[in-house]
């Protein structure tokens, strides 16, 4: 197995008395599509927020390529090549699709303040637009480049969220519930995209509470429940794991 790109060590997050994430350990191999699953409220989004720097861990650490990134602000972590999407389609609603993607290229082509004051047009501004178009084409959004982000369909908004994240060519991207609210056809399209993203060189860590949706795409799956590590393995191992079945069935019985 190749070296771990991302490693989570004894990670914990408390909200008052609630341990949303409790002594969590797992690692993501370079080039993998790695799933993080668990019932609703298991602490998956919180884990994402800890890894991406949105929250500070109560204890424990996060290592990216062996370097400790825990407690760093989000934009610094992003600059190290770890980028996330948000659970609900979070976009710049009043900007065009192309402009959204241009913001995504910020780290590749950071704008120059003095050039803006002096009114200079830099070649990097064009390069940013070209890269933005390229990533929109990758996600099948180029035809919508001039539309406002808020006018896109739900599926397209999801895709644009990923385009913004991937525009900067991150080494690892964290996707929070990318399949939510998708019909079977959109789900199939999104699964194909995942493979394409991996081919393009990014490692993927993906959160889902729907176990079936990501069985087909993940190399490895970490299961958590009540903030804790439950088990980890290849999809067919996890699927047959007694406690996993119990965690999900128990949940659905409660819901019923």
């Amino acid at each position: 197995m190749s070296e771990a790109l991302l490693e989570v060590r004894n990670l914990s997050k408390r909200f008052g008395g609630l341990k949303a994430v409790d002594q969590l350990n797992f690692s993501v191999a370079e080039g993998a599509i790695h799933g993080l699953i668990g019932p609703n409220g298991a602490g998956k989004t919180t884990t994402f927020n800890l890894i991406s720097g949105f929250y500070r861990p109560s204890s424990g650490s996060v290592l990216l390529s062996g370097e400790d990134i825990s407690g760093m602000p989000m934009h610094r972590i992003a600059r190290r090549g770890l980028v996330r999407t948000f659970q609900h389609s979070t976009l710049f609603a009043e900007l065009s699709v192309l402009e959204n993607a241009v913001v995504g290229t910020y780290m590749l082509y950071p704008p120059q303040t003095f050039a803006a004051l002096a009114g200079l047009r830099l070649s990097r501004d064009d390069a940013a637009k070209n890269r933005a178009r390229q990533v929109l084409e990758f996600f099948g959004l180029l035809d919508h480049a001039d539309e406002l982000a808020r006018s896109l369909s739900h599926g397209h908004q999801r895709a644009l969220g990923m385009a913004v994240a991937l525009a900067s060519r991150p080494s690892i991207v964290l996707l929070d519930e990318p399949f939510t609210g998708m019909n079977p056809e959109e789900t199939r399209g999104m699964m194909k995209l995942m493979f394409k993203i991996r081919e393009a060189g990014a490692t993927i860590l993906i959160v889902e509470h729907d176990m079936r949706a990501i069985m087909g795409i993940c190399d490895r799956i970490t299961v958590m429940n009540f903030g804790r590590f439950l088990t980890e393995g290849r999809p067919n191992e996890v699927r047959r794991h007694d406690e996993v079945i119990e965690a999900y069935l128990g949940k659905s019985k409660q819901n019923a």
């Binding site: 989000m74 241009v102 803006a116 009114g119 501004d125």
Partner: protein, 328 residues
Amino acid sequence: MPRWLVAVGVLATAALLLALPHVLSFSQREVLVFMTINILVVCSYRLLTLTGEWSLGHVVMMGVGAYASALLAKKVGVFVPLAMLLGAFTAAMVALVLSVPLFRMKGFYFLIGSFAAGEIIRLLWKRFRDPFGGPKGIKRIDPMPDFDLGIWNFTFFDPVSYYYFALLVVLAGLFVMWRVEKSPIGLVFHAVHWQDNLARSAGISVRAYRTLALVLSSGFAGLAGALLAHYIGTVNPNMFDIEQMVYVLTWAIVGGTATFYGPIIGCVVLTVVNEIVLREIGLEQGRPMIYGMLLIGTVLFLPKGLEDLFHRLSRIGLLFSRQPRGGQ
């Protein structure tokens, strides 16, 4: 729009702006100078609001530029136009220092914090007679030196001359701000305003860009302050108090801040209302009250400001002008 039409529009506007002082009375010319300077103040204020923060210290930053430029000219003997630029730079640098504590806060707390920071600066002006002149401020500030262009002899005590000079400076300032807004920096400002977390995950330091907006907007406010100081020849702490700030806020809110021209409309319309309507019917004393009512009225009935009205009117105009083509 065809290029010749733009050119005609620009020329017509230029002619109008050049001719404007000549159809006004002397006191109206003075008001015209103030309004020109105020347009720079309110537009620079909008630059800050692009990142989503509203400050109550903007007028004080204008004062910092005014004091710095006045002192540099009077005590150090710096050439007045250069002193003005240095005044703007001083305001920008003071804003940079203030941003360190202020941007630990957001929204309402930033608003209050900016007010407190402004009051501290005003207190320093009052407390330190040397060099700030205490409550009475600085008097007999050097005016712009006269010069002769051949076609026009600039004597800057004359409002018409000073209006032309201020207009040039203000237009240059607006041009730079407009360009910043249309540049990739402006895109980042928008991103920081509307989805700060998504911006962060794109690698953007939200704080750095909020600081940039504050520093730039304060620099232009400082430039406006310097223009004012060398025109009226005196500065004092009361010129930059919260009442003045409320006027700037009113121009911005009544005009609207979504577009570049919104605050300009607000400033022009309210100045005209103030000077023509209120002064004529002798209600000038009621200015704060009437501004307050206008502010509330705008928030209730025209939440997007006059710019929205303007926008809708121009769309209706466009609709009519397009009708012949609609029949094709």
